[in-house]
Each structure stands twice: as C-alpha cells, then as structure tokens.
C-alpha cells in the first residue's frame, strides 16, 4: 500500500504547489481573500466563490478524466451542457418559444432534471459508440457533437434565451445546503461516488488498462468497447449535470454561451492533474486542476484585469504546470542545475 500512496502524493505535489502559489499571491495582494462570512447561515467569500463558480468545470472534469484515461477526449461537453440547460428551461416554460408568457402547469422537478440528464447520457453514449464500435478518432467523433450540439440547443430554444422561475429547480444552482452552496455539494458527491465506483471496484483499473494497452486488455477478457462507450456516457452525464447547474443558477438557457469553451478548461484541468492520455488517472488531481483554473480566473478578475487577459494567463499556467509534470523535463532541469553548480 505504501509505495502507491507515495506515488500518488508525488503526482499531486506539483498541482498542489501551483494552487498554493495562486492562493499565496492572493493572501498578500488581495484584501479579504481568505475571509469567509456567514450571512443568514450561508457561507460567503472569495474561496467559496471559487468553489461555487468552478463547480460546472469540476463536474465535467470528472467525466473528462475517465475518458482521457481510456486514451480519448470529449470535446462535446460544452455543447451537451447547452443542450441540457436548454431542455430544462424548455420543460419549465414549454410555450415561451411560441411567445406565450404564461408558464402553464408547473413542471415537476423530476421531469426537469431527468429528461435533460437522460438525453445527455444518450448523447455521451453516442460519442462512445462512434469511438469504440465504429472506430472514429475521439477528437473527430466528439467534434461532431461539439459543433452540431449548439445547433441542437438552438433548435430547442428556437434561438431565444429562455428565462424562467422555478423555485425547486433554482435550488440546484443557487441553493444552500448546510450553509454550503448546493453546486459544491454536488461536486463533492459526484467525486466521491466516482471514486467509489472506480477505485473500490475494478472499473478504474480496467479503464487504465484499456487506455494503456487496448489489445492486451481485450485478450484478457476486458470488455474494451463497452467500457469505453460507458465512460463517454458518464462524461455526457457529468456535462448534463453541469449544464443544469449553470442554467438553474442564471435562471435562463442561453444556447449560444452556456458551457462555451468549458471543454478546454476541463481538458486543461485533467492534464494539470496528471492524468495520462491512455493510462493512469487521478480524480483528485483533476479536481485540483479545475480549482487552479478557477482560482486563476477569479484572481485575475478581482484584480481588475480585463477578462480577455484571463485566457492568456490560463494558457501560461497550463503550459507551466504541464511542463513541470513532465518527468523528462524535470530530469533535464535537475541535470542543468547540477552542471551549473559544477
């Protein structure tokens, strides 16, 4: 048990360092960054805000981690978010697109959640089917849905931004449970469940084996195609849930902008977290990766730097951390230092 733990620690070290650096920067330069207030029994503060804002990305990052470990990638998660949000809004206000302002009967929360999630899973499975059974390259297969998906979301909302009110549904994105924003609770829950599913059963090992050597895995009787398809399905589910959170939080479905570019944040988080494309994955690493990205965005925005620059900063950090993660580079740096000392 011990060496494995050590190994895991080592892999998390660099992402954790990067996260600490960002937080440390704020400790010195952003007033009140670490203060957490309790208003009406709810927690508030920059840290809570990072967690809350980062929740959608963290959710899709969880799914992306598994897909990435099988040797694939899922570019369609942003589009799936848009679709699931559009579906939820449409279910709440079915007649809005016809120009009717009245809500009609209140749609039950169960319907508003289950249908978008189900469709998201089906879309994910479709990706998986293309990749595993048809043999389409993952980038191409999911690119199809990435581009077509926003169109589908537009069709659902008829190009409108559907705004709505639905008390129980709004709770998902903006409610509090035990004083903690509900999206954070969802992230914790999903991370924990995914950890249980992958690490307390053989699923995690199978995913890593499939990613690292699909042929050998097939010979060992692992259902390679099925497993791959399911990971894409799971990624679809995660995206669906993230879409619901965003839609519920802003009380609107914006097919054009919901989840836009978030697939890139998720991929970056997974890479920063040390998951290998086709091999070992680390859920904890991915979550830390997502936190790094969110903390970075928040920091930059609170410092009054124009948000456009955020992208440049992000790119910079990703490059740095990804480089540091590379063992080869580390070895070379060490070597240089050694030579320098001589």
């Amino acid at each position: 048990m011990k060496p494995l733990l050590k190994n895991a620690d080592k892999n998390l070290l660099y992402p954790l360092l990067a996260l600490s650096a960002i937080l440390l920067f704020n400790l010195f330069f952003t007033d009140g960054f670490f203060s957490i207030q309790i208003k009406n029994g709810h927690l508030f503060g920059s840290l809570i805000d990072i967690l809350n804002r980062g929740a959608p990305v963290m959710l899709i990052t969880i799914g992306m981690t598994l897909v990435y470990a099988t040797g694939g990638v899922d570019l369609s998660v942003g589009a799936i978010m848009a679709i699931s949000g559009a579906l939820s809004a449409q279910l709440i206000r079915p007649d809005y697109i016809k120009g009717i302002i009245e809500y009609g009967n209140t749609t039950s929360l169960f319907i508003v959640l289950s249908i978008p999630l189900l469709i998201s899973i089906i879309l994910g499975l479709w990706n998986g089917f293309l990749v595993a059974f048809i043999g389409v390259q993952p980038i191409i297969a999911t690119l199809i849905l990435m581009t077509a998906g926003r169109g589908i979301a537009q069709l659902i909302t008829h190009g409108l931004i559907i705004v709505f009110e639905h008390e129980s549904f709004q709770f998902i994105g903006s409610g509090f449970l035990f004083g903690i924003p509900f999206p954070i609770i969802l992230v914790i829950l999903l991370t924990f469940i995914t950890w249980l599913l992958t690490r307390k059963t053989s699923i995690g090992l199978f995913i890593e084996a499939i990613g690292a050597n699909p042929l050998a895995s097939h010979y060992m009787g692992i259902k390679v195609k099925m497993m791959k398809t399911l990971t894409y399905g799971f990624s679809g589910f995660c995206a669906g849930l993230a879409g619901i959170i965003v839609c519920s939080d802003i009380q609107a479905a914006d097919a054009n902008n919901a989840g836009l570019f978030l697939e890139l944040d998720a991929i970056a988080s997974v890479i920063i977290g040390g998951t290998i494309n086709g091999g070992r994955f680390s859920l904890a690493g991915s979550i830390i990766g997502a936190l790094i990205i969110q903390a970075l965005s928040t920091t930059i925005i609170t410092r009054g730097i124009p948000p456009q620059v955020v992208l440049v900063f992000k790119a910079f950090i990703i490059i740095i951390v990804a480089l540091i993660q590379s063992e080869k580079l580390r070895a070379q740096l060490k070597d240089l230092l050694k030579r320098g000392r001589k």
Binding site: T201, I203, F206, E208, A209, A212, Y219, M220, G221
Partner: protein, 511 residues
C-alpha cells in the same frame, strides 16, 4: 592471446560503470571493452543488466558512476539520436519503431532524404527497398509497419540500424523472433561488417548463435561484471556456470528429459476442433487436445501457428467448422468467451499484446483474473499481493517490488510476467505462443519443468515454439503446419528434430 589493455583499436571502453534504479542496482561497477572488427557477445541471465548497459551507452539512461570512452575520448550521449549521429547504431530489445508510419518512414525516420527542402518520397522508398534487399526481404515499403509480423518488424529495425553509417553496431536480442534463414542472413552481414572494421555488440540467449559468431564474451551477473573472455577460452558449460553463478557439469542438468514417449489416448478429450477454416488465412483442419496433454504446434514463421491459436481463443473468427469443449459445441466469439471456458492465451508479442507497461507488476498479474471475476467481485488487496508474490516466486521473476512498473522489468522478466498472469487464471488449457522468447537458459528449463508439472496436474497445453528441441522436450505430440495448412501430426518416437524438418520439407510425405 589478445591484449586486453588499452590500445588504439578500442572503440568502446567502459570502466566501473554503475547505474541504480529505485530498489535495484542494475549495474554495479561494470567493465566492457569493444574493439574494432570484433563481435562481442554480452551475456547474462534475465535482469542481469545487459539492456541497461546498452541504454546507458546510447544515452537512454544517465549513468551514476564510471567512465565511458568511445574512440579513446570521454563520451556521454544525451539521447539515442545523439549516439546514432556519433556512429553508434542500435537495435533495442523492445523494438522502437512507429507502428503507424510506413516501413520506409521507419527506416529513415529523422534522416529522410530531402529534395528542394521537402522529403523525397520516391528516393526514400527506393532506398528503403534497397536496405531491406540486403537482408533478403522484399516487401512493400509504403505500407504501415503494423501490417507486418514481428519477425518482419525486427528485420526492419535491423535494416534501419545497418543503413546508418556507423562504426559501432549494437544488437539487443535481434534474433528472438527470426527464423533460421533470417538469422543466417543477419549473421553473414554481421560478419561482413566486422571484416570492414565495425565493432558489434551482440546480445542473445541463444548460445549456439554466440559460439557461431562471436570473438569475445563479456558476462554479467546480477548487475556485476563477471569477466571478459575470448570465445575459445569459455566453452559452453563454463559460460553457463558463469552466467548462473553455479557450477554446471552436465548440460543435461538443464535439458531435463521430459519427453513422454507415448501419446495418452486414454485421457479424456478436452478440445476438439473440426473442419476449422479461416478463409484466406488458414486452410481447413481438425485438431484435438486431451486433458493433461502438451500438444506442440510447429512450422516455420508464418505457417499459421499463431493464427490457429487466435481462432481457438476467439481473437479471430473462423469461417467454417466447429469447436467442442468437453464434448459440448461451443461458440467462442471473443477472448472473454474463451476465458469463460477456462482457456488462456499467452501471446507472442509481449509489447503490443501482453504487457501493460504503465501498470504495476501486481496489476499486470491480477488483471485477467479481475476481468474474469467481474467488476463487483474484485480481489482484495491482500489476495492480489499473495497471488503476485506466489507467481513471482514460482517463476523467479526479478522485481524490485510488487509495485514496480511492469514496463521497467527486463525483457525476459516481462515475458515471465505474462506467463504468470495466465497461470494465475488456473486454466484448463493454456495456449503458449513462443513463451520462452527472450528467456535465459536457466529460466527456460525451469519453465519447461513447470509446464510438465502442470500437465501432470491435468492442465492441457498448446505449445507454439520455433525451437524444435524445446517442442521435443515438452510435447507428447505435435501438429505440423506449412503454408497456413496443417500437414500432419507426429508423436512418439517419430517426434524428433530430424523427422519434423523432413516432414516439413517433404510436405508431410511419409518418411
């Protein structure tokens, strides 16, 4: 008596070289000398440090201590590319070609012929063809490398190394998947290059090939330097003793006489294949295997042995025919189905079909078992460790711990690891496709003994091997294949190397 001290003919001079990995000292103060115009065999058991020595020399690993001189000058290569640009051409044990590139691209990767600043494809393909011609190989060089068998891939790797203008040629187990004729072709080229003054480092576990070609032998044992000997001063038995570190007085101590003289037709039938055919790959054949029987599959490379195994194991489909197991008609559509009927298959190409390099030794061994048990019935950590330890001990796999990454094991130990994986399944029929490839002479005889013991415990074995002496020692009966067709069976006193060769040469006509 050649002078072992420094002289101008020395190409490589390694002194006191040490290299450690976490948990193992792979090289401990090793000396090695290569002179111009010699073939120098580097010998030692699996995990002795041979490949590591090569990798340190070419810059794939950094040395911890010691000196390396090439042509009398201190030498530290920063990468294999660097080494090859300085005249060291290498064929690594785990062939490092790119499966998705064409054969020609693989041969010229990093040094493509250019014309007007662009790759001159025509010239490149033509030169690739010429490079392979020298090895008597005539294939389409524009096709993806992965389309070819490992034997051909190995020849391609050799062709690449020969095409690089080098003064030092390193061959780490180049012949492990070659047939006799291909080996001879390689040896004649090696000897020609030697005459031209090249120094060649040759690693192999085939002792005959060592004695046929080498001038010197350097022996390593457990990372330590045992000695350097002119070939004449180290007869076979002495060499084996030096490698194993114990006195061997009779080669038959290793060549256990397992051979059973009669064919057990009193035993219960386990697998019966009737009229099996795969169109375009394998002609129609019948075959049966009884319980506890070790059935050999012999034939030249490409004769259809692996194809036969792959059909039985559900990897490839058969276009006609039936498979019966224990008297019941079965439908094996995938390896998973085969495993559910207690079959196991130890594949030929450990790199692409066997090892999962980024997982640990423990995970590699229990993985197939876990897949069989299903997602919800995984083994407890403790059980996994017990199984792993048991097989590490049984097969004497050299590891630094259960959590060592499988990809960092020595070649022969990776081979043992795959064997362990399938033995752990406790199968009723174990299909072994070249199981002793890259395995040292001591371990080979241990594995032969193990196969024998398993068969006494009623496990059946389908044994594919290019080494006829091995087949004859282990099997009670052998099916002979030629040109993708089963041409007959031999058993009892008819099962000898000569009869098999004759049988193949004469297409199965009675002897």
């Amino acid at each position: 008596m050649p002078d072992l001290k420094a002289d101008s003919s020395q190409l490589v001079e390694i002194r006191g070289l040490s290299k450690s990995f976490p948990g193992v000292k792979a090289l401990d103060s090793v000396n090695f000398t290569l002179r111009r115009g010699e073939i120098h065999a580097l010998m030692g058991e699996n995990g002795a440090g041979k490949s590591t020595l090569i990798k340190v020399l070419t810059g794939l690993h950094k040395k911890d201590k010691g000196s390396i001189k090439v042509d009398g000058l201190d030498f530290e290569s920063s990468s294999p590319m660097d080494a090859s640009s300085k005249g060291i051409s290498t064929v690594y044990q785990e062939i490092n070609l790119v499966p998705n590139l064409s054969v020609a691209e693989n041969i010229f990767i990093g040094r493509q012929p250019m014309k007007f600043g662009m790759v001159d494809w025509k010239l490149m393909n033509q030169k690739a063809k010429e490079a392979l011609k020298k090895l008597d190989i005539d294939i389409d060089v524009t096709i993806q490398l992965s389309q070819y068998s490992i034997a051909i891939q190995q020849m391609i790797a050799i062709a690449r190394s020969l095409d690089i203008k080098a003064k030092i040629l390193i061959l780490d187990e180049p012949t492990s998947s070659l047939d006799l004729a291909e080996c001879e072709q390689l040896f004649s080229i090696m000897n020609k290059l030697k005459e031209e003054g090249m120094g060649i480092i040759f690693i192999t576990h085939f002792l005959d090939q060592v004695y046929q070609n080498s001038d010197y032998i350097t022996v390593l044992r457990n990372g330590s330097f045992v000695g350097e000997y002119p070939i004449k001063e180290l007869p076979k038995l002495k060499l084996i003793s030096k490698m194993l570190g114990k006195e061997i007085t009779d080669i038959n101590e290793l060549n256990n006489k397992i051979h059973r003289d009669y064919y057990h037709n009193d035993k219960k039938m386990f697998v019966k294949m009737e009229g099996i055919e795969r169109k375009g790959v394998l002609s129609r054949f019948d075959m049966d295997i009884r319980e506890g029987e070790v059935l050999g599959l012999v034939g030249l490379l490409g004769s259809g042995r692996t194809e036969m195994a792959k059909i039985l194991f559900g990897i490839d489909k058969h276009t006609s025919g039936y498979i019966n197991i224990n008297g019941n008609l079965v439908n094996i559509k995938s390896p998973r189905d085969a495993i559910s009927h207690s079959l196991a298959f130890c594949p030929e190409d450990r790199k692409t079909e066997g090892i999962i390099p980024d997982l640990t030794v423990r995970e590699n061994i229990v993985l197939a078992l876990q897949a069989k048990n299903g997602i919800l019935h995984g083994l407890k950590r403790k059980e996994q460790e017990d199984i792993t330890s048991k097989f590490i001990k049984l097969l004497q796999i050299k590891v630094s711990g259960l959590e060592q990454m499988a990809g960092t094991l020595s070649g022969g130990n990776q081979q043992k690891l795959i064997l362990a994986r399938w033995l752990a399944m406790n199968p009723k029929l174990l299909i072994l496709d070249e199981p002793t490839r890259g395995i040292d002479i001591g371990a080979k005889s241990e594995i032969e003994k193990l196969i024998n013991k398993m068969s006494e415990d009623n496990m059946s074995v389908l044994f594919i091997s290019s080494e006829l002496d091995e087949v004859i020692r282990c099997c009670s009966r052998a099916a002979i294949l030629k040109d993708r067709k089963k041409i007959g069976e031999l058993y009892g006193e008819k099962l000898t190397e000569n009869t098999i060769m004759n049988y193949i040469a004469k297409d199965g006509y009675e002897l």
